[in-house]
């Protein structure tokens, strides 16, 4: 432990304490709650910036608390953590802004924002965990804190969605627990380290390590929504829009993907995993998921469902990057962790705006929304084009690296999968853009007038900011302060110079 380690605790507590305080606020205390929310999110952002600055100055951060016998509760800031924690804190700030506007006048806001903050705490914790047990702790905490958000509306449908979500994730959690405990019984305490920590067991426990890897992928694959473990995700769409945005961009799904990245790179080590022969099946599963998700998205009329299946597909790009040996594919996968996050969150913000302002939930109702809500639709367009992989937007960068990495590694079929997927992306996004901009509007199902702006200013700011990020991440990809630059650093560490 060092003094600087308290910064990490600060990053956690900025949202944890906020959450606890908000729980006990009276429902009517609207203004105070809003300020607390923004304060927490802002403080976290500042602390993360301080962390980045410190790391830039060569400072290392870690803190360990007493926990299980023989296993401390450890937070640290390695390259992967920093990537994920930055993403989540930036997007949390945007989502908070958005959620405050979105939930104006709806009931149980104290409960909602309490769990909302805890959910982000769990995500941040996942990012900062320095050993496997700490990771598991936050991973399960995320499961629990997300449930109240999914069932927030309290309708029968919401409760059913929540039940399905809990069933999937808890079974996944139990499998993950088994994997973690089993690995510990072989290897002792597992601390994340570049290039893995289990090389010494390779000779003696090959079979067991393969089974444990499978268990890890099953356990984490539930949250990462790898086919056929993705069944909960479309059902969880009953949640309010900010929750969906958070779920898909930073919290649950991304936590699963990040977990897979952790296991492959920092527990097994990608080269060790390749020696074990466990990567090709993973790549195959990712490939199947990518195509399956895209195809299913094609047939959804409900906008949020279409986006959900799109997530199923897009998150597996990250898994794919992890499953292909070689630094280039790694760069593609990891950078997509960030890029998918900012693109998808933009799309969900926009979908929420359409629903809140015009009452449109379905693609077939979106004719002409671009004329009624040009700013929102512009953000939507940027993100959708990014998803398809149109240069110079963020998605293009990820896909380019993935494709190049696959070809370098000799997995040409992956390139084919990527091409097919891009086509499908275009097929399910372009019709929406066409309808939005080029068809003339009919009557809106349930229009809501917000006066000066096309919608509530808080609802508008968030997608505009994230859309700008999508452009920035693509256009300035080669600058030293881009996600890509950071990811390249990680890849160098993983594979050696």
């Amino acid at each position: 432990m060092n003094v600087h380690g308290f910064l990490l605790l600060g990053i956690l507590f900025s949202s944890f304490v906020t959450g606890l305080v908000i729980f006990f606020l009276k429902e009517e205390n609207h203004r105070l709650r809003t300020w607390l929310n923004l304060l927490g999110a802002g403080v976290k952002l500042i602390l993360v910036a301080a962390l980045l600055w410190g790391i830039h100055q060569g400072q290392t951060y870690s803190i360990a608390l007493e926990f299980l016998p023989g296993i401390p509760f450890t937070l640290g800031a390695d390259a992967n953590s920093v990537l994920f924690v930055t993403l989540s804190s930036v997007l949390w700030f945007c989502t908070t802004l958005y959620a405050v506007g979105y939930l104006e006048d709806s009931p149980h806001r104290s409960r909602f924002f309490g769990f909302f903050s805890l959910c982000v705490t769990a995500t941040t914790g996942i990012a900062l965990s320095a050993n496997l047990v700490t990771f598991l702790t936050f991973y399960e905490l995320l499961t629990v804190t997300t449930y109240p958000l999914i069932v927030h509306r309290g309708t029968t449908e919401a409760l059913r969605g929540g039940k399905i979500y809990l069933t999937y994730t808890l079974v996944g959690g139990a499998i993950l627990l088994l994997a973690v405990a089993w690995l510990h019984s072989l290897a002792g305490p597992v601390v994340f380290k570049e290039r893995g920590v289990i090389q010494t067991l390779l000779a003696s426990h090959r079979g067991e390590l393969q089974v444990i890897f499978l268990l890890f992928m099953l356990g984490l694959g539930v949250k990462a929504a790898i086919v056929p473990l993705h069944g909960w995700l479309p059902k969880a769409m009953v949640a309010p829009a900010p929750v969906s945005a958070l779920l898909h961009a930073v919290a649950v799904v991304k936590a699963g993907a990040f977990g897979i990245v952790r296991i492959v790179y920092d527990v097994y080590g990608v080269e060790t995993a390749a020696t074990l022969g466990v990567l090709p099946p993973l790549a195959l599963a990712a490939g199947v998921t990518i195509v399956h998700g895209s195809v299913r998205a094609l047939f959804q009329d409900e906008l949020k469902k279409r986006l959900a299946y799109s997530t199923v597909s897009q998150v597996s790009y990250i898994v794919l990057g992890a499953a292909i040996l070689g630094p280039v594919a790694t760069i593609g996968g990891l950078v997509h962790l960030v890029h998918q996050g900012i693109m998808k969150i933009t799309l969900f913000f926009c979908a929420g705006n359409y629903a809140e302002t015009l009452g449109t939930h379905r693609v077939s109702e979106m004719n002409g929304v671009g004329r009624r809500m040009p700013l929102t639709t512009a953000a939507f367009t940027v993100a959708a084009l990014g998803m398809i992989g149109v240069p110079p937007l963020a998605g293009y960068i990820s896909k380019w690296y993935l494709k190049k990495g696959a070809i370098t590694a000799g997995d040409e079929w992956v390139a084919v999968v990527l091409a097919v997927s891009s086509l499908l992306n275009a097929a399910y996004f372009l019709p929406i853009l066409y309808r939005a901009w080029l068809l003339s509007p009919k009557a809106w199902p349930h229009e809501h007038d917000f006066g000066r702006w096309e919608t509530h200013w808080m609802l508008l700011t968030a997608p505009l900011v994230t859309a700008a990020l999508v452009i920035w991440a693509g256009v300035f990809a080669e600058s030293p302060f881009s996600p890509l630059a950071w990811v390249k650093l990680i890849a160098t560490r993983e594979y050696g110079p």
Binding site: F23, L141, T143, L170, A174, L177, S185, L186, L201
Partner: protein, 543 residues
Amino acid sequence: MTAAWAIALLILSPLAAAALVFAFPRCGRWLALGTVAVVGGASVQLTWKVLTDGVQIHRVGGWGPPLGIDLRADGLSVLMLLITALIGLAVSLYAQRYFAAHESERPLPVNPDVAASRLSAAILDKDSVRRSAETPLRFKSPTRELVRGDRNPALHRERYFWPLFLFLWTALNALFLSADIFNLYVTLELLGFAAVTLVALAGKRAALTAALRYLFVSLTASLFYLLGVGLVYGQCATVDLASLAAKAQPGPALWVALALMTGGLIAKAALFPLHFWLPPAHANAPAPVSALLSALVVKGSFYILLRLWIEAFPALMTPPVAQLFGLLGAAAILWGSVNALVQSRLKLLIAYSTVAQLGYLFLLFPLAATPEGGFTAWSGGLIFLGAHACAKTAMFLTAGNILHAAGHDRIQDLDGMTHVLPVSVFAFGLAGMSLIGLPPSSGFAGKWLLLNAALAQGQWWWVAVMLLGSLLAAAYVARVLAHAFTRVEEPRKPHPIAPVMEWTALALALLAVGLGFASHGLAELLRVGAPVAGAMLLGGAAP
């Protein structure tokens, strides 16, 4: 305060307080709170002594075994004492308001239907009333029970709650400190009587029936235990736990003796398949009593089993015996969980959950009684015990709040309880987290160590049971909690509830979660005088 004084106060202060409260019923609350302070201080002091100076032995009367009785405090004892003090504190705060709050809910002296018909018959038949007025006490007149019903049943219950509670506490403290198997018999009886009477205090028909059944089981079990002690004495000429370990040679008498004692103790600990008495007793008792019973009383018998098999007669703890214990534990986990899942009443659900959670404790036998690394399972099982004690107390107290506020505890009608009792529901959720074994709760810490021991020793079948048990626990906890989120248009008006009743439940639930971070420290405490050796954590590079 020396260790001797700490030990003495742990036993004497609740005992003397019980007698005083009985003699001066008006002082019940204050004497109980005073006892909480004294016992709490003594427990902490004794823990400190054990941590710094190792196992503390007090020879009562200065004789020492085999003639005298030893009181012994090792890591396990003080852990149990601390848990008891903690639960005792919470329950005595809760009970300050509980009984007064339930004033409206009067006990039924008679089966209501029977009573009504008898009463109307008596009123119609004036002669019979007059007759019974003339000779009111010689025979059971139909109206007697009603006529002589307590003017203030809540006051009556509270007055008797305090001495009985203090007796229960005395019994537990004495039990956890005793190193003598005959003395343990006396503590068991003290414990059993207090527990049964506390159940009956609810006064309802179901509670009385459950209490009587509990009493029969408890007495029979005690006699089995007592006969076993006799056989042990006949064979070994001592009843001191430590001396027995040296003298015990496996033979028919000891095998039968141990079988008798074990049979009695597992009936008292409600291990499957002798758990049948527990759900009605725990579900029908007043909430603070349910909490005491589930958190502490059943653990007392488990504690003696541990002492007997692992400490006094390790020679008889053969692998088949160990596996048999585990098997019963596994059956309890599955049977209890499935039954909890299908209950329609909250308190019964919690009671069946106790049946299930007790099963985990018995996995300790196959996992700890091994040469290579018993300590991991030992500490895991006992941390689990502490976790369950806190979580279960929180749950029963919460159930008491819900029962009071809503007037019922039907699970399917609990919709929208978050709106009326947010703190209680939050406490229930946190306690549920620990029951399920979600990290970082103490329930997780215990389960983790048990899993680690099972995996490292290749006893994978227990792993499967534990994971399945966790999922089932998640299912029954979620079943209750889902009702907290349902949309209700018009929240019902609840009976007002004292804040202390909600906050004590929450405090314990927080503890059930927070103690996970203390599990390293608890394991170190348990190391003092532990009868099993081995690493804290099994596996490759473990320190």
